[in-house]
């Protein structure tokens, strides 16, 4: 039966003498490392940096939209700002967020391996990300780009004089960084599992990363070739997308969304993995319907490839394909719903405690459900024609990506923070931050649903005065949300030095990563683990605690 969570006495916990953090010192030992945990930390720092650049852009957008006329930013500057916000948040934060940091850190440990299969390619992936990031910062410094994050042709190829080529190449590079991460995960999960770690003993975190990795390696190359064609069209003038030469701009849309729709599942699936771990741990129960949740991840990955044209309902695709894509879009809601229902069923009769990761996970459940359901509205043809290109889309996307994914990311960062650093974050203020984030989020984005329904178009710097009240609500919410994001940055940094020592398993969780010291050894395991229990087996954990003393360093 389930047991009530009691934290082990942290007064007696000691930091291990040797860990991946202090085994070697110096900048070189970090920049040339092959250790997945160190690369995860490098990624954590870099994506946090880009998150705050993207957030600054969002702040500029919300300040401009405080008043109806285009006064703070000129219209063309506004275009550059929302483009920068989109490109940075999508390609430099959301896509690598959970996989490259938490996934990189945890997946080898969760499958019982010493490292990812290709440590050098893992490091290469980080360098590609950094090269892409530097290019993107150069783009922003030397005049920006104003295509929107979708690089829509012929706007991007013929009508703009901004840095489209360098922005396109930056995204191309970032794409390869994500391909290498995905490739590494798939090979690791297939070939590096410890003895006894069967597919159905893997934590659901690993399953969802496997599904996301499939999308990364199958989808991202199509984006790469599409961007190459855009760049060739802009520099040389080939005619694949140019109607004056016989090309077809709609083909660009097909190719772009063939990646970019699965890309939203690349972003959300790893977050769903985090939620599975957190919900199970803090309700002390095995995830209800483990197999269904595992296969729903794969189903999302498969269905996700066949819904892309729902981005193009008003672009002139045929009625029949619109009909088919509308149906398929509604179908993809099924596996997402399976997950939500199974998590809720896991909570049922569980011994729930309200630690910070759990608060974020609750935020995820509610906000992702709203985001997902409005996705079904948008997938139905009649509604879409009314709502597309309005703030309803903006609100829907942010409910899924910020309300869903960012909440899951923060949940995961808090959950694995003790494992990554060996120290606890301060519990009180972090709970406050979780609540502030939730309130700020709803205040920011809920009014945008109403604005969109009333017909306010997206991507404009100015709007009619009757929309001002709701926009003021939204901007006010954004400032609350900003506080919610700054707080973790501050207290997590603080906790690196002053946080309580966590000990190996502060949450009494069952994953393999919690059975080793915090922070782990460079090799993760002193001895290759032999897995004899199912995932989320709390009785196994109890019996283990009774029979042996956990080793600390």
């Amino acid at each position: 039966m389930s047991t009530i969570l009691t934290l082990p006495d942290q007064a007696t916990a000691r930091l291990p003498k040797v860990s991946y953090l202090n085994k070697e010192y110096g900048l070189k030992s970090w920049l040339l490392t092959g250790d997945h945990k160190r690369i995860a930390m490098l990624y954590l720092i870099s994506i946090t940096f880009f998150f705050f650049i993207g957030a600054a852009m969002a702040a500029l957008i919300r300040m401009e939209l405080l008043t109806p006329p285009s006064d703070l930013l000129a219209a063309d500057t506004y275009n550059k700002v929302f483009t920068a916000h989109g490109i940075i948040m999508v390609f430099f934060f959301l896509v690598p967020s959970v996989p490259a940091t938490i996934g990189n850190f945890c997946i080898p440990i969760m499958v019982g391996a010493k490292d990812l299969a290709f440590p050098k390619i893992n490091l290469l992936s980080w360098y590609l990300y950094i090269a892409a990031g530097i290019m993107m910062i150069c783009v922003l410094t030397f005049g920006g780009v104003d295509t929107g994050w979708t690089f829509t042709t012929p706007l991007s190829t013929h009508y703009l004089n901004t840095n489209v080529v360098s922005a396109g190449l930056a995204v191309f590079l970032a794409g390869f960084s994500s391909i290498f991460t995905g490739l590494n995960f798939i090979v690791t999960i297939h070939r590096m599992r410890a003895p006894g770690m069967t597919w159905f003993r893997l934590p659901l975190f690993v399953w969802s990363h496997y599904a996301a990795s499939l999308l990364m390696i199958l989808g991202t190359p199509v984006l790469a070739i599409t961007l190459v064609l855009v760049v060739l069209e802009r520099t040389i003038g080939i005619g694949v997308f140019d109607p004056t030469k016989g090309g077809d701009p709609l083909l660009f849309q097909h190719l772009f969304w063939f990646y970019s729709h699965p890309a939203v599942y690349i972003m959300i699936l790893p977050g769903m993995g985090v939620i599975s771990e957190v919900i199970s741990t803090f309700s002390r129960k095995r995830v209800f319907g483990y197999t269904a949740v595992a296969f729903s991840s794969v189903a999302i990955a498969v269905f996700g490839f066949f819904v892309w044209a729902h981005h193009m309902f008003v672009m002139g695709i045929s009625n029949y394909s619109a009909l088919v894509f509308s149906l398929l879009t509604m179908l993809v809601a099924v596996p997402s719903a399976i997950k939500i229902f199974n998590w809720s069923a896991t909570l049922y009769k569980g011994s729930i405690t309200f630690e910070t990761p759990m608060l974020y996970a609750f935020g995820f459940l509610g906000l992702f459900t709203i985001g997902g359901l409005t996705g079904v509205f948008l997938g139905s043809l009649g509604m879409d024609i009314h709502l597309t290109e309005t703030y309803f889309i903006v609100a829907h996307f942010h409910f899924v990506m910020v309300g869903g994914m960012l909440m899951a990311y923060l949940s995961g960062v808090h959950f694995w923070w003790p494992k990554m650093t060996g120290r606890m974050y301060p519990e009180g203020i972090s709970k406050l931050a979780a609540v502030i984030t939730f309130v700020g989020f709803v205040l920011t984005f809920f009014p945008q649903f109403i604005l969109g329904y009333l017909g306010m178009p997206r991507r404009y710097a100015a709007y009619p005065p009757e929309f001002q009240v709701l926009n003021v609500f939204s901007s006010a919410g954004a400032s609350v949300l900003g506080v919610g994001y700054l707080l973790p940055l501050l207290y997590l940094t603080w906790s690196l030095k002053y946080g309580k020592i966590a000990g190996p398993n502060p949450w009494q969780a069952t994953g393999l990563e919690w059975q080793i010291q915090s922070p782990p050894l460079t090799e993760n395991f002193a001895e290759t683990p032999i897995v004899t229990h199912e995932a989320y087996d709390y009785e196994w954990l109890e019996s283990r605690k009774g029979s042996e003393v956990p080793t600390v360093g």
Binding site: A117, L183, V187, V222, G247
Partner: protein, 248 residues
Amino acid sequence: MDSHTLAAQTAETGHIEHGADHPPFLRHHFENVPQQREAATFGMWLFLLTEIMFFGGLFCSYLIFRNWYYPAFVAGSHTLHIWAGTLNTTLLIVSSFTMAMGVHAAETRMRKALMGWIIATLILGCGFLCVKAYEWHDEWVEHHVPGLNFSPEGFLHGTKDYPDDKLPLDMAEKTQVYFSLYFAMTGMHALHMVIGVSLLTILLIQVYGGKYVNGHVAPIENFGLYWHFVDIVWIFLFPLLYLISRHQ
């Protein structure tokens, strides 16, 4: 060995000794050589899968436009030198053979033979690129490069070999799409060839230094997979670009 001594030993030496079954090329995070080799090969196949998707975008575009502008694609295809395409196909197929023999030489640990097969592959690969460069130059001279110096003039009146290729002006303009795809596809393929030739040069230097003939054949084997993949892409490009309706 109990976990404490193991942990201590790990901390001192940085890795756990495996005893006899631990050749120097076995990386520390793998249990044994077969696991390392399987992981490397599996990773390579996955990478080739991403390459298929990469070229897939181009093939998909080709399919659509060929359906729309068939006469333009036929006329455009007729301007290519079929002898050059055939020569290049032959060069690549033979280079795939030499590469396969190279992998065999690595497996049987014959350093001299391996170097010979790699050099043969390199020469064939460079030969391919030379023929390709000649063709591109020719297309430049003929004003067939979209965007830079394209002129539909040649497609309005038919040619000596194909007098029927008389296209109305709007369809003649559409040959730009054919040549856009031609340059994008052969260009991407040639880029892969250049990368392949560069990697192979590095491998040659390493083999000269004595690597990959000690049982550690995975890099040669995986490069072979890459080389065959690039070859197969060409096997598709040749009929799609050169052999459209040649019987006219």
